[in-house]
Subunit: 375 residues, 2 copies
Amino acid sequence: MFKVTGRDNETKARAGLLETAHGIIPTPIFMPVGTAGTVKGVLQKNLVEDIDAKIILGNTYHLYLRPGLEILKASGGLHKFINWSRPMLTDSGGYQVFSLSGNRKLTDEGAIFKSHIDGSKHIFTPENTIDIQRIIGADIMMAFDECAPFPCDYRYAQKSVVLTHHWLDRAVTRFSGTDPVWDYEQFLFPIVQGSTFDDLRKLSAEKAASAGMAGNAIGGLSVGEPADEMYHIIEVVNEILPDDKPRYLMGVGTPVNILEAIERGIDMFDCVMPTRNGRNGMLFTSEGIINIKNRKWTDDFSPIDPYGPSEVSLYYSKAYLRHLVVSGEILGSQIASIHNLSFYMKLVSEARRRIEEGNFKIWKKQMIKKLSERL
Amino acid sequence: MFKVTGRDNETKARAGLLETAHGIIPTPIFMPVGTAGTVKGVLQKNLVEDIDAKIILGNTYHLYLRPGLEILKASGGLHKFINWSRPMLTDSGGYQVFSLSGNRKLTDEGAIFKSHIDGSKHIFTPENTIDIQRIIGADIMMAFDECAPFPCDYRYAQKSVVLTHHWLDRAVTRFSGTDPVWDYEQFLFPIVQGSTFDDLRKLSAEKAASAGMAGNAIGGLSVGEPADEMYHIIEVVNEILPDDKPRYLMGVGTPVNILEAIERGIDMFDCVMPTRNGRNGMLFTSEGIINIKNRKWTDDFSPIDPYGPSEVSLYYSKAYLRHLVVSGEILGSQIASIHNLSFYMKLVSEARRRIEEGNFKIWKKQMIKKLSERL
């Protein structure tokens, strides 16, 4: 399913093609987050035509609670429910159970939690999160894991990794023992945990690799640790994760984080930053980072981004977008989301081109400088 | 500037063409409301390509407070600020001063009010609302008026009409004595007031007509009075307003209201209903009115409207839209707004076609039945 089509000579960066039932995904790739079956503020048409998203994410936790399995099943799966024909990936709900729901309780069996919507009680297990993701019908499913908080002492991290590995075995068993609910193949990715401890990360990477799945993910990063620690852990883990399978760095991150991770051999990314920060007025542009709420943009009638990653970046001015965001207008969120997601997509696709052309490293160096600038 | 191109034989309905500096508007027409320089939840591209809005509204009150005159002037007017090249109309701020701002005080000079944003004190006069609308640069400007509440006793309504007429004289003087700020012609429409009193409405219609402006508007309706009273007042007023000039019924209304008013010789409409009610899950469809939050739509996977007034009406299902609206997702507001506005636009354009074809009355009768249905 995964083919490396190009490698950078000076770094671990690689370009690839990931084949799924709903299409081929060029890597490195960024995946817009569509938590509850919608990339917030973006029409499916804009996702395809303006942003050209090759794959989007769904959140098992949110979708399980609302619209719920009955509706997802009756509609023919999430692709049909939201009318999206390109690939999709769902996380296993692990991260959300620990970050969103109150009164959660961890047992060997799984995680008991209360819905953040109505307080109702539920349990996620390695098995039922596979069953749920079968119904959702994502092309790529994730194994249920515990995402340890940061900072976290060694003893806790160790216990957490042991539990996550135990759960992985059960998830793989369920995955191998069941058929897709819909008529196409689904993949399961294990998640490497282990906080910021090299030995636990190595252990976890070996465990993930040994599961022999179609790809692997790294979780529990970008949760508060310094960026250099994150980059170090990526290096440690990627030494072990198989080179011929895609590597997905979960929930990361800034454009700089993404380029640094690509350099270290990561292929897939997702992050709420382009949409969530966009709604709050933070824009990633070719010239640097903009906080559109700043007074300095009040009368700047130049385009949001003159290098125009999307049509809206050229169509709308900074002053107008500032007016919309400051006024709390929905359109501000829409424009910022389309622009930021397009910027991210153009960034990874340019990285891919540079890798294939053999000049990734020098390009990356120039970009890091520009991307870090605050205008 | 206005040409009647067709008349219905059995009713007062007429089709026309209204020529403005930014384009020709076919009438009857519905004008989406773009309060603060944005039709809430709708990209300008969707306004043109999906909804095909021929003209949109701006609110002088909102735009004066934010972004403010300095920015509007520096940007080259509202058209350039929001990047909209089709016609625009601005109301005079009268209605908003009375409905939105606290501590307003009416004097002969004008209306003193406090900003709903920061509590700052301002005054609107017949003169400065012309000056402001010159800077905004709308193709059609409105004269500053007092919109009497409903119900309202005769004495109050009479006093209010006298004030509005006094203000109209001053607005016309300012309008005639000033040039456009930008390099194109602007029109001024007087507003007929008089609550639900025939004699006051007649007086006010005669006053408006005598001003000899390019068009006339009827205000102070759809403020709580029964629909039949509104229709009656429209008849009374339209007997007097010149037949060779466009008639604009402000802030009205439901699809049924619009067809009834077209039958009585109204040419132009605006209303927040398609967008505001849309955001709350109320949809106007070819089959009737839908409250998408109702449980019955939970597993209805049919398109929002099989007669598809817009692309989104066919692309998205009722069940998905329900999920989005119930979940408070921005995308729900976007889809509902595009659908409802398209529905309104198709309704008035179909009315226009029927008038020209000479079968408006029979078509209207069938439509009224369907449009009133609650699904």
